[in-house]
C-alpha cells in the first residue's frame, strides 16, 4: 500500500535533484574558489598579523608588520615605483594603442599584417620580454655601444644600470608589450561605431580630426575605462618583467611591491612582512576592481 507513495517520494527526490542540478554543478568550482581565493586571502591576512618569520605561525600579535612595512625604505621605494610605473604604463599604453587604432581604422590595406605585428608581444612571457630588452639595453654590447660605434660618440642610454632611471626601462618594455593589446581593444570598439553618424557629420562639413575628437573618441569612454582598469591591475601584479629585466636593481631602485613581497617571503624569511605587503597589494587592486565590477554587473542587470 505504501509502495506508490514511496515511489512518488523517490520521484520527487529525483525531480528535486534535477531542479537543483545547476546549483549542484556550480557548487564545487564555487567552493574551490571560495577556499582558494577568499579563504587564502583571510589566511594571508592572519599571517600578516603575526610575527611569522621562516614558517607561518598563527599567533596573532597585531598590526606591527604593517607599521614596520610603512617605515621601510625598500617598501616605500617599491610603492613609489608602482605609482611611477603604473601611471606612465597606463598613459603611454593607452595613448599609443589609441593612436595606432585610429590610424589602422583609415582603410589600411595591410591592416591584418600590421595588427599581427603590433599585438604579438602580448603572446610572449614577461620573462622573455625582459630578457630581450635587457640584452638590447645593456650598455657594453647593446644599443648604446652600437650607436657609439656608428660614430655618435656622445650617445648615452644607460638607464638600465642607472639607479634613477631603471624603473623607466621597465615602463619601456611593459608599454612595448601592452600597447598592441590596447590597440586591439580600441580597434574592435571603433568598428562598432555607427557609420551613419560619421557620414552625417562629414556632410555637415566636419573634418576627420574633429569627428574623431568630437564624436568617436568620446563615445569610446567605456573602452578607455576598461583599458584603464585592466592596465592598472596588471601594473600592480607586475612581477616577472622586473625579475628578468633589472632584478629590482641597481640595489632595489626598480623594485615593485610584487617583488618586495617575493623577496621577503621566500628569500629573507620575513613571512609576516611579506604577507602584510601582499595585503597592501590586494587592497590597491580591490580599490580599482571592486567599484568597476560593481558598476559593470549592476549596469548589466538593469540593461
Amino acid at each position: 500500500m505504501s509502495n506508490p507513495q514511496q515511489r512518488k517520494q523517490q520521484m520527487s527526490v529525483l525531480d528535486r535533484l534535477q531542479r537543483y542540478l545547476p546549483q549542484l554543478v556550480i557548487a564545487p568550482p564555487f567552493l574551490l574558489l571560495v577556499f582558494f581565493v577568499y579563504g587564502f586571502i583571510a589566511w594571508t591576512g592572519i599571517i600578516s598579523l603575526t610575527n611569522s618569520r621562516m614558517l607561518p605561525t598563527f599567533d596573532v600579535q597585531g598590526i606591527q608588520q604593517y607599521v614596520r612595512l610603512l617605515a621601510m625604505d625598500r617598501w616605500n621605494v617599491a610603492f613609489d615605483n608602482l605609482l611611477i610605473f603604473g601611471s606612465l604604463y597606463i598613459l603611454f599604453s593607452i595613448t599609443i594603442g589609441c593612436v595606432l587604432a585610429v590610424l589602422l581604422d583609415q582603410r589600411i590595406r595591410a591592416e591584418g599584417a600590421l595588427r599581427t605585428i603590433y599585438l604579438y608581444p602580448m603572446a610572449i612571457s614577461f620573462i622573455v620580454t625582459g630578457t630581450a630588452w635587457k640584452w638590447i639595453l645593456n650598455p657594453s654590447l647593446g644599443i648604446e655601444s652600437y650607436m657609439q660605434k656608428l660614430g655618435w660618440e656622445s650617445f648615452q642610454f644607460d638607464w638600465i644600470v642607472n639607479r634613477d632611471m631603471a624603473i623607466y626601462v621597465v615602463v619601456l618594455a611593459a608599454v612595448w608589450q601592452a600597447s598592441g593589446f590596447v590597440m586591439a581593444l580600441f580597434l574592435s570598439a571603433l568598428r562598432t561605431v555607427d557609420e551613419d553618424i560619421i557620414r552625417a557629420a562629414h556632410l555637415d562639413g566636419a573634418s576627420t580630426t574633429r569627428i574623431y575628437f568630437g564624436i568617436i573618441l568620446p563615445s569610446l569612454r567605456p573602452v578607455f575605462l576598461s583599458a584603464f582598469v585592466i592596465l592598472a591591475h596588471l601594473s600592480i601584479k607586475s612581477f616577472d618583467l622586473v625579475v628578468a629585466l633589472t632584478n629590482g636593481g641597481p640595489g632595489y631602485s626598480s623594485t615593485l611591491p610584487a617583488n618586495f613581497m617575493y623577496e621577503m617571503a621566500f628569500r629573507r624569511n620575513q613571512i609576516g612582512l611579506g604577507a602584510a605587503s601582499a595585503m597592501m597589494m590586494l587592497a590597491t587592486v580591490a580599490a580599482i576592481i571592486v567599484p568597476y565590477l560593481y558598476s559593470e554587473l549592476r549596469a548589466k542587470r538593469h540593461g
Binding site: 630588452w133 638590447i136 660605434k149 600592480i236 610584487a258
Partner: protein, 295 residues
C-alpha cells in the same frame, strides 16, 4: 591622433600627404615592435666573437645554429647541463591537463550560471570573477603550505592543481558571457522535450561552443605557459617550468656569458605561444578582450 586628414573629396594632394603621414607612422611603429625580436633572433644566430664585436643591429655573417642546439640540449641551468629541453617538457606536461580541466569546469559552470538564472547566480559569478584580478602574491603563502599538506610541493602535479584552480575564474567568465547570448527558449524547448541538464549541455550547448572553447584553450595555454610566479615559488630544480629555467639560465653567473645561447633559449621558451598566436590570432584577441567587454 591629430594628424590633418582630408575630407572625402578634398583635393588629391592633401589626401596623398595624409596617406603618407599615416603610413609613415604605422610603419615606424611596426619597426619598433619588430625590433626586439629581430635583435634576439639575429643574436641567437651569431657566434660570440661576432657578438663581442658589438654590432647589435647587424645581420649575422652566417647562419650559425650552434647556440640553438646548446640552448635546447646542453646549456647549464643550475647544476644540470641538459639545456632547456627537460623544463620545456615540464611546461608541456603542466599545461595540457590544467588547460583541459579548467576549460571543462569553466564550460559547465558558465552553462549553469548563464542559462539557469537561479537566485544568487549573479553574486556567485561576481565572487568568482574577482578571482581573475587578485594579485597572486596574496595566495602563494597559504598555497605553499597547502601543497605541502597535500604532498605535492615541488612537483608538476602541484603546479597543475594551482593553474587549474586559478584558471577557473577566467574560463567561467568566457563561457558564461558566451552562453548569456544563447536564447533561453532553446533550453526551455529542450526541457519540454524531456532533455535534462547534462543532455542539453552535451547535445545542444557544446556543439555551439567551439569558438569559445578555442578562445578558452588558447587563453589558458598562454597564461599557464608564460606564468612565472607560481613556478618560481613552488618548484625548484628538476620540476621547474620553462620560464623559471630560462630566467635561471639568463641570470647564471657561473660561466662566461653566452648571449647567443641566452637569446636562443628565450626564443625556444617563447615559441609555443607565438606559434599559437600566429595560427589562431583572432581567437587570442577575443580572449584578451573578453575581460574588458561586458557580457
Amino acid at each position: 591622433m591629430a594628424e590633418p586628414k582630408t575630407l572625402p573629396g578634398a583635393n588629391g594632394k592633401r589626401h596623398l600627404l595624409g596617406r603618407i603621414f599615416i603610413w609613415t607612422l604605422l610603419l615606424a611603429a611596426a619597426v619598433l615592435y619588430l625590433g626586439p625580436i629581430y635583435v634576439v633572433l639575429s643574436t641567437s644566430l651569431k657566434d660570440l666573437a661576432e657578438i663581442r664585436a658589438g654590432a647589435l643591429l647587424d645581420l649575422p655573417h652566417e647562419l650559425n645554429f650552434t647556440a640553438w642546439r646548446e640552448a635546447w640540449s646542453s646549456a647549464c641551468i643550475g647544476v644540470r647541463c641538459e639545456g632547456l629541453r627537460p623544463y620545456f617538457l615540464n611546461s608541456v606536461i603542466m599545461s595540457v591537463p590544467s588547460v583541459a580541466i579548467s576549460t571543462l569546469i569553466g564550460a559547465l559552470s558558465g552553462y549553469a550560471l548563464s542559462l539557469f538564472r537561479f537566485r544568487g547566480a549573479n553574486i556567485i559569478f561576481a565572487l568568482m570573477l574577482f578571482g581573475c584580478f587578485i594579485p597572486f602574491q596574496i595566495v602563494i603563502l597559504p598555497m605553499a603550505q597547502t601543497l605541502g599538506y597535500l604532498g605535492i610541493a615541488n612537483s608538476i602535479t602541484g603546479l597543475i592543481v594551482v593553474h587549474t584552480i586559478y584558471g577557473i575564474s577566467f574560463t567561467t567568465l568566457f563561457f558564461r558571457n558566451y552562453y548569456v547570448s544563447v536564447p533561453q527558449e532553446l533550453v526551455r524547448a529542450a526541457t519540454m522535450d524531456g532533455a535534462g541538464f547534462f543532455r542539453i549541455f552535451w547535445h545542444i550547448m557544446l556543439p555551439l561552443s567551439i569558438p569559445i572553447i578555442v578562445v578558452s584553450v588558447i587563453w589558458q595555454f598562454t597564461q599557464v605557459w608564460n606564468e612565472f610566479l607560481f613556478g618560481a615559488s613552488f618548484t625548484s630544480g628538476g620540476s621547474q617550468p620553462v620560464t623559471v629555467a630560462l630566467n635561471n639560465l639568463i641570470n647564471s653567473t657561473t660561466s662566461v656569458k653566452q648571449y647567443n645561447v641566452d637569446m636562443a633559449a628565450a626564443l625556444i621558451a617563447a615559441a609555443p605561444t607565438l606559434v599559437v598566436y600566429i595560427i589562431a590570432g583572432r581567437f587570442f584577441v577575443r580572449g584578451l578582450t573578453a575581460g574588458a567587454v561586458k557580457g
